[in-house]
Symmetry: C2
Subunit: 282 residues, 2 copies
Amino acid sequence: MRVVEKIAEIKSIVRSQKRTEKTIGFVPTMGYLHEGHMSLVETSLRHNDYTIMSIFVNPTQFGPNEDFERYPRDLDGDLKKAELAGVDIVFIPTKEEIYPKGYKTYVNVEGITNLLCGKSRPDHFRGVTTIVNKLFNIVEPDKAYFGQKDAQQVAVIRKMTSDLNLNVEIVTCPTIREDDGLAMSSRNAYLSEKDRLSATILSKSLFEAKELINKGERNREKIIDFIIQRINTEKDAIIDYVDAVDGDSLEQIDFLKGNVLLALAVKFGQTRLIDNMIIACE
Amino acid sequence: MRVVEKIAEIKSIVRSQKRTEKTIGFVPTMGYLHEGHMSLVETSLRHNDYTIMSIFVNPTQFGPNEDFERYPRDLDGDLKKAELAGVDIVFIPTKEEIYPKGYKTYVNVEGITNLLCGKSRPDHFRGVTTIVNKLFNIVEPDKAYFGQKDAQQVAVIRKMTSDLNLNVEIVTCPTIREDDGLAMSSRNAYLSEKDRLSATILSKSLFEAKELINKGERNREKIIDFIIQRINTEKDAIIDYVDAVDGDSLEQIDFLKGNVLLALAVKFGQTRLIDNMIIACE
């Protein structure tokens, strides 16, 4: 496995791979790798001749009062996991390599970035689309892999990719969960033992809501209220949002129909967790 | 020469050219081709195995009260000129092909888009960088050719290309002028016979200012005032701006040093013309 820090170096590797017509799979991450990330890697290895992972805690997707500084980092551990999994290249640029002095260009998807997580994280998705666009230009992947856990992120990246005519296929992989249902996330490391237990209410409430929908409930308000009430049984849970939107466009819906995305964000102390579920409603 | 309307078709042609390791030169235009455009084509033909031109009057770079509807168009004439010159492919997408229903993604360079032309055309450069980014993703050129006449446009596109790590080399070609000095522009077609004569004051004032600088003048205000006074000798000329900025960064300068860009925009009736000159000052 090669570990590369410089854009020029990875571009030259990519170009020589392309010349041999090898397909490139790409897994962009912020590191502190868990089984969710590794499932993206496994899928990329199956699909492609060559798999590149990036590890970069991207400052432009954090708000001024968010957790950029304390975001968990473990580069040595990450590199061991990547090597063991069979990643070909890990790209670990510095902040200065990605955003040199005088950096000024941003890619923004309008509309669907203002709802759900975008409401409380106003510039978050602009940071995500900018870094992903840059990484796509650097790595020139045939396919790129993202986790369904960040449902809105995937929708925004798909929209950018299609709107800007990028030559990358976006592949969404299922959310990987702990045995008790909690969606895997690097931010779970922040949770106290007590909050870690309480946090299982997020996936529980979504699975229970799914059961209600499968039994025939189609009233959007009722489903949202049900989830809110279930979460509020944990007194330390502070709800940021609970919503049900169209699973493809993320547009508001009046009642549940087609692919519905149930999505939520909840804070336990300083730790903001998200989870979601896509449910096919006839 | 092939004329292509669909993105999918041009992408498939580009991919098969790339497989044979041919280099691709790209000349994006809004059509109504003049010798300025054709000089870009000639340079691309010399540099590359394969030359693609696009003709697309891009709606997102026109303001609500600007000349999108009446912008001059002559597709038949343009195709004849392109074929005669030796262009391999002309890409002529529809508005709907480039901006399908629900289009939402924009590329924006901050800072240098707010000065010079950006002051009176607030979303202009956002439209330019968005369409050029899209066309680069569609055509995947090795080199792309732009005229020095649109000096700020070139600086903004260079900045986007470098910031977003695009795999394209931007080549700037000299401004082509009419015999009396007027910079060639599709918008010159708007001018009345009288305004066409008055408009020569633009290049005259720039050439005279260059002479003053070459004789030793380094006072920015004096040079700007000189140009303004010269332009005002034509009573139908309405100055939008006259400025002197750093030729590379477009940053404000206190006195003339290094590569200096003298740039101006002037209206004759409804017709807004621009011109500029880069002058090396020791």
